[in-house]
Amino acid sequence: MVTIKELPKEEYLLKGHAACAGCGPAIALRLLFKALGNKIFLVVPACCTTVIQGPYPYTSSAVPLQNILFESTAAASSGIVAALRQLKRDDITVVGWAGDGGTVDIGIQALSGAAERETNFIYICYDNEAYGNTGMQRSGATPYGAWTTTTPSGKQERKKDMPMIMAAHRIPYVATACPSFPVDLVNKLRKAKEIKGTKYIHILAPCPTGWRYDASKTVELGKLAVQTGLWALYEIENGKFKLDSPSDRLIDRSKRKPVRDYFTPQARFRNVTDQDIKRIEQWLDEDWERYRRLVADSASDSASYGKI
């Protein structure tokens, strides 16, 4: 297990970039480079990171980065992976780095196709729960009750469960993460790099601009998301489900912090009523009952992908 101090000092996300102050995705991107170094090709669709690079002729990314069309991260990655195989460059890791919009909505087709073809790359969804680049309109990953510019009275539908959708593709590695838990994220990225096939990592990345909280609270809110159980840290390796610390202690609901602790600092949840909270808590219980079952089944069942 690596410690924070052991992480490399080299920066491949160069300072002076265009991210908002307190940007969660920027922390996650920095951690990506700390985990994998610079022998990577990054594929970036239209998303916040497109803008974070800054304008031509400059960029804040110190690794080769292919900007590509919004829905096409996984398709471009497929092409690059195939070319690298022909060029016999197995020392380069291809990483798709897309927002939630480009993953769960417009990008889901290409991602599903790439996963079904067992494309050998890491796909990372950094999730700030809305279309950040275009000004915080709702996405399929926006949670229930959240304000966005296109759901001003709060989204009426639940957040799409993208990690489980990817697990249903029977890919060898699915993980959830959050930059508030940097060592956990780095370990998952490094583990993914060593696995052959499609690896999917979904990172909850708090966004002060879209979630409407004081920018200094980005890391704190990420921790709360996990501590309330609203965002579970887990891995599904060849179908075996495992909760990661601190989520592994939260099957016991008494250990979960109250969800209001997470909602109150975020103005995007100001329209959430007590009734909404009740519904959210019920869904939370259902999700965690599911996780409990998955943990139990994975411990006992030797067959992989039996029970997702």
Binding site: G16, H17, A18, A19, I27, R30, Y56, T218
Partner: protein, 94 residues
């Protein structure tokens, strides 16, 4: 190596942008508050370093944080996360 061009002849055939510190200029000008480190309290845990979204904190030889005020946007995450409250957010003078 593609350099930043001045004339059309120097431009690459398609936009190839060069990794540059300060692609958006000196983003330190965005700040309203600036972090100030009390090095006597600082335990050199490097938590502030790992959480800075802007790569504006580097580690000194003893792992104490060195803040680059040319690029620090004043988000306050470092101050919020410091386990011993060694960083204070102070209003920018001027």
């Amino acid at each position: 190596m593609v350099k930043s061009p001045k004339t059309r002849k120097e431009m690459p055939p398609t936009p190839l942008s060069v990794p540059t510190v300060g692609s958006m200029g000196k983003t330190g000008t965005w700040r309203t508050f600036r972090p100030k480190v009390d090095y006597s309290k600082c335990t050199r845990c490097t938590i502030c370093w790992i959480f800075c979204p802007d790569s504006a904190i580097t580690r000194r030889a003893d792992d104490a944080p060195e803040i680059d005020y040319d690029y620090c946007k004043g988000c306050g995450i470092c101050a919020n996360e410091c386990p011993v409250k060694a960083i204070a957010m102070c209003r920018e003078e001027e």
